[in-house]
Amino acid sequence: MNPLFQQPLQVIGLGLAGFSDNLRAAGGKVLHLNWKPAAHGDSGANWLLANLVNDARIEAANRQALQQFLDAQPVLVDAVPASEAIPAMAGGERRILHAGPPIAWADMCGPMQGAIAGAILFEGWASNIDAASAMAQRGDVALEPCHHHAAVGPMAGIISPSMPLWVVENRAHGNRAFSNFNEGLGKVLRFGANGDEVLARLRWMRDALAPTLRQALRSAGEIELKPMMAQALHMGDEVHNRNAAATGLFFKRVAAHLARQTQGVSALEFIAANDHFFLNLSMAACKSMLDAAAGVRHSSMVTVMARNGVNFGVRLSGTGDRWFQAPANPVDGLFFPGYDVNDAAPDLGDSAITETAGLGGFAMAASPAIVKFVGGTPADATRHSRDMQHITLAQHTAFTLPALNFAGSGAGIDARRVVDRGILPVINTGIAHRLAGVGQIGAGITTAPLTCFVDGLAALAGQLEQ
């Protein structure tokens, strides 16, 4: 029998505060919520969400997805051309992968179009930028999201068949994930630059850097990425927008092995000059961990967050390959001298895979330097990390945050919690110039749009009814 009358009454109040005040005045125990309607006040979505709360099927599915995610052991095993790593890139077909959810050439932002045109030149499919753009426009090159091929790329996220990729294998489940190589800052393909200097660097990375790193990896042996990322968190990185410590740790790990290679010194110089070198490894590691959690029927755990420069896209474990998209939210950030918000491209890149995995904005407490981008304080950084723990299923055991007394960073975003609690995933991000080729013009913090999660839950609810 319902034991209410035999227990002390403990109330949670929502709505009129006066009722809670009265209870307190009468000696009752009451917690009054700071309530507001969920889902932008859409009453239908509120009702739908309510019926998913504590659903036994979702809870069981989430436990499974979360466990697979936490169990994953990403290991750097190789560096090979995309045509070797990804079956769809092998057949000699003209195919280029890009960041974020699917998008047609005509709808792409400037930096992504510039980067794709550059990649077409790089592959030798066209002889100049105009011809390359026309080729893409005609549909002569298949354009698909990296995420459709277990891959991720920062900013424009461009991967063409001959580009070298990192191969990260999740040893717990055997799945592999891929990412391209980081070119450094300034005029680079991922911000849409496609001049000779950019293409020359890409060729050097393909012909010299990648084979050299491959040899060094063979000599060094596989590199466990999870411990390296965990250590970097304790050294001031959040392994999304700050990778200085992680890049240093990686450099230490491979330095001696690279030094023995013919082009080892130039490879070492290249890595040492780029504090973001590790970013692409962090991303591939996160992708391999999250792919391990994908496709668990009924799970509301988020497995992908990615931006294509127009839309923000989300995937849930339980809804498989479906994308839930909405226009990207604006970035709250600082701009390099001479630029302002009018110069900014909308939020771009697959790098939000780090936040999906509980790093980046979720681990901001580890990286107080990052909050300076938005004029924040270290207290803001810890607040962000605490907030993110409210929308995740659990806390990481591997990734801990010293500033939170070594509590784990939030692990496994639950789309239900995002909508129910009205707390949006926080994403640390670079800001690209809206015109191709200008490059990074700032950095800051943004959030994932609520609509993606609301729509994802609607799809999940439909699946539960079947």
Partner: protein, 519 residues
């Protein structure tokens, strides 16, 4: 003078807070009209209806401020509004402090033993919050109204299947484990457990039981629609089942408007099987019929409490009492002082059940009347703005509370109407209620007393005499002092009855006497 409008994206505040901001904004010098509300289609429509043709793009989760004033002041007005809308810094400025939970699930993480959610959010979201609470294992009191009936059926079906209690929607009052929920009077703990589909009716019962020297184990509301066919009395059945198992409850009282026949059968069958004495009152239904089915039946609210207390004490069931002879004599004496043309009874109620019961008293004596919430045999209101003949208003009904607080919280609109009716030369008697307790106005008479004096003075000057009859629903333990209210009303020349039914009966006796005089 121009219309100004400002949207605050994703800022939610409850309707009471917004009404306060509206009132402050309207009171600013130079502002001729103002409205502050969540930007729901209904609210925007209402602003347009009130002559403010707002044209904005806004979501229901945005806050919309509209006002009519000179352009020159627009900026300073907006600054003021922004200041008023600023949230209170509940964290004391400490960014390290824990975030105040914003959802039920977060609340439960902070207070894991919470066993009841008290929900008073806008109706279109209320059922969702109730469903969340139930799915998290909590019982629910749903104060909110305007909840779709299908959602009410869903949450109650879920609750019944999981042995949880849902009180409401539109449940205004309850006492659970001695704690006041919503509007509730302070009464002593005791052996009588009550379940009611009628809010102020339940308050009247608990107060009467207290006055008679007994106490209340639990006073549970079900919401007014619970005993409709569509809901099937699910909440009342759950409440009966829980009270049947509660060792502190030795007698059960059930109160409702007449239920749908199939629902009545179901509820009464459960009551019969519960192994505890049960007193039943279906407002306006034939008590003899219930008695013939073996139930102790109340004839009115007062009588129901009297029967329950007598039964608990093992005493004989009392017959329904008439009005106190001394007060009846006072009422009839007042009739003698009335002028020709004074003929009508005007009732202005804050409590819906009080209005309902008063109508029944008129109908029982063959008096024709009108009401905005008519019982069977009563006409619908002739006009919303002026009474016609005998007229009994439920001022807590939706049509009078759109965008305004309930008259139990803020009686000013009720008082204005009361004075208007007193000023009508055809008015002979004015009947009203004063509801005390948690949730009700802290000073229910502060505004009314001088107005009453003024009205009586003016009618005297015009050669008339108005009979004011009131009933105070409350106890001496309530935050407002019942004794002080009663003596203040008496001092103002108001005839104060012991119960709502007695007040109505006194009014009826006066009107009948008046008719007798005139015939």
């Amino acid at each position: 003078m121009n219309l100004h409008c400002s949207v605050f994206p994703n800022l939610y505040m409850d309707s009471v807070s917004l009404m306060q901001v509206s009132a402050r904004l309207s009171a600013l010098p130079g502002v001729s009209r103002a409205s502050v509300a969540m930007a729901t289609p209904a609210n925007i429509e209402r602003m347009r209806d009130s002559g403010m043709a707002v044209e904005v793009t806004a979501k229901p989760s945005d806050l919309l401020v509209a006002w009519v004033a000179d352009d020159t002041q627009a900026r300073s007005i907006l600054d003021d509004v922004r200041q008023w809308l600023k949230p209170v810094d509940v964290q004391g400025g400490d960014a390290q402090a824990a975030r105040v939970p914003g959802s039920l699930e977060m609340g439960l993480e902070a207070q894991p033993d919470a066993n009841l959610a008290l929900i008073s959010v806008p109706g279109q979201y209320a059922a969702a919050e109730a469903m969340k609470a139930l799915r998290l294992g909590m019982n629910v009191m749903l104060f909110s109204d305007n909840v779709p009936e299908a959602q009410e059926a869903s949450i109650k079906t879920y609750a019944s299947a999981h042995d949880l209690l849902v009180m409401g929607p539109d449940c205004g009052t309850a006492i659970v484990n001695g704690m006041p929920l919503g509007f509730a009077n302070v009464v002593r703990p005791g052996a009588i457990g009550l379940v009611a589909a009628s809010g102020t009716g339940l308050q009247e019962l608990t107060c009467r039981i207290h006055h008679l020297g007994e106490g209340v184990s639990q006073a549970l509301g079900t919401g007014g629609r619970d005993l409709h066919e569509e809901i099937g009395g699910l909440a009342m059945c759950q409440a009966i089942a829980m009270l049947a198992q509660d060792p502190a409850t030795r007698l059960i009282v059930l109160l409702s408007k007449p239920p749908a026949p199939a629902v009545a059968t179901r509820v009464l069958q459960l009551a019969r099987d519960c192994a505890k004495p049960v007193v039943v009152h279906f407002l306006g239904a034939d008590a003899a019929q219930l008695a013939s089915q073996g139930f102790m039946a109340g004839h009115n609210l007062q009588h129901t409490a009297d029967v329950a207390v007598a039964a608990l004490r093992g005493q004989a069931v009392p017959a329904p009492a008439g009005p106190d002879p001394e007060r009846l004599a006072q009422a009839l004496a007042a009739v003698g002082r009335m002028a020709k043309g004074q003929a009508n009874l005007r009732g202005v109620f804050a409590g819906g059940t009080f209005c309902y019961e008063a109508q029944l008293a008129l109908v029982a004596r063959g008096l024709e009347c009108e009401s905005n919430a008519p019982v069977q045999g009563v006409r619908v209101l002739h006009s919303r703005t002026a009474g016609f003949g005998h007229s009994l208003l439920d001022m807590g009904d939706d049509e009078f509370t759109q965008g305004r607080p309930h008259p139990m919280i803020d009686p000013s609109q009720r008082n204005t109407r009361l004075l208007q009716d007193a000023g009508d030369p055809g008015t002979a008697a004015v009947l009203f209620d004063v509801v005390l307790g948690f949730g009700a106005s802290a000073e229910p008479l502060a505004e009314l007393l001088p107005l009453l004096k003024d009205a009586q003075g003016r009618s005297s000057a015009a050669g008339r005499h108005i009979l004011f009859i009131a009933h105070v629903c409350g106890t001496e333990l309530d935050p407002q002092s019942r004794q002080a209210c009663v003596s203040d009303l008496c001092a103002a020349g108001v005839l104060v009855a012991d119960s709502n039914i007695e007040a109505a009966q006194l009014a009826v006796a006066a009107i009948l006497a008046l008719n007798g005089n005139q015939s």
